[in-house]
Symmetry: C2
DNA sequence: GGTGAAACTTCTAATAA
DNA sequence: TTATTAGAAGTTTCACC
């Protein structure tokens, strides 16, 4: 899983698709002054290489009634139980991502819930998992997501 | 920014698009036994309502040479500086998301870097921001991302 | 609200360079 | 590797339910 070499054309294709996956290949072709067929072939190659893992919709969870975000640090009784606990945690749909971490916590996860009441339920679900000693919660008062394009540009420029 | 009422058809459309935004509307139409025109109109409405905020590619950052993930908790000298610090943090492209939080830290962010050496640079950039007292880093040894579909199903079933 | 069909646009694979 | 091409496929609009 090392680096993969993409050229300038690939970068530009990704740049146009990264925040709108439905941009027509013909538009990309026009902008890059290449043919739509070439765009097609290149995207396919990046998919086959696994660089492009997929595409996904960005939903407004606030508008869906899920405005509560928190991070939950998990302390375990024994580190050997980590795999088991991670699996149990991932069964909770309101956990969006979980990490095995160094430092204070053994496991660290992000949750999304309707409100504090609902978050309490989710945190209790985590607390109830066998092997969990205790948890520590940090509530997000405001989230600001950084533009994917900026990270991508930095990656391509390797700065 | 309250709840928005989506019916069963909308749920199913989102369900088909959530992890593959390029599924043809004709395919969705076939599966739901409605016309492609209806799918089109419904997607457009959800976009206009802001439920669908956009679409994005999922890239394999490991394959791009960026396999290092960490969370950085930030302590400030004064809470009043939070806005300023968040803005500065968001200027760093390797910070993927930043939060204002309750609990231990004033600000909490996730970073993605090439390796420990590079992560050190990123963390020092955060440390150097005016108003930052100190930081605390948790390195992710393993990340497991939960399927968006599962959260969506739970939202729709309001369980 | 939804449909179905027409007009238009885009995709995709084969061929050729 | 890339461009061209042409038929297949998808999107979008609209008159009509």
């Amino acid at each position: 899983m090392g680096k993969f070499k993409l050229d300038e054309i690939d970068h530009q294709i990704l740049d146009m698709l990264i925040d709108n996956t439905r941009v027509p290949f013909t538009d990309i072709a026009k902008k890059l002054v290449i043919s739509a067929g070439t765009v097609h072939v290149r995207v396919k190659k990046m998919e086959e290489a696994g660089i492009i893992k997929g595409s996904s919709l960005t939903l407004d969870y606030k508008k869906l009634g899920y405005s509560f975000i928190a991070y939950v640090g998990v302390f375990l009784n024994k580190t050997s139980q980590t795999k088991f606990v991670i699996e149990r945690i991932n069964e909770i749909p309101f956990v969006t991502v979980a990490h095995i971490t160094t430092g204070k916590f053994n496991v660290f996860c992000k949750i999304r819930a309707r409100n504090t009441e609902h978050a309490k339920d989710v945190i209790f679900m985590i607390d109830d998992i066998e092997g969990v000693y205790r948890t520590e919660t940090m509530i997000s008062l405001e989230e600001s997501i950084n533009d994917k394009k900026r990270l991508m540009h930095s990656i391509f420029n390797n700065m």
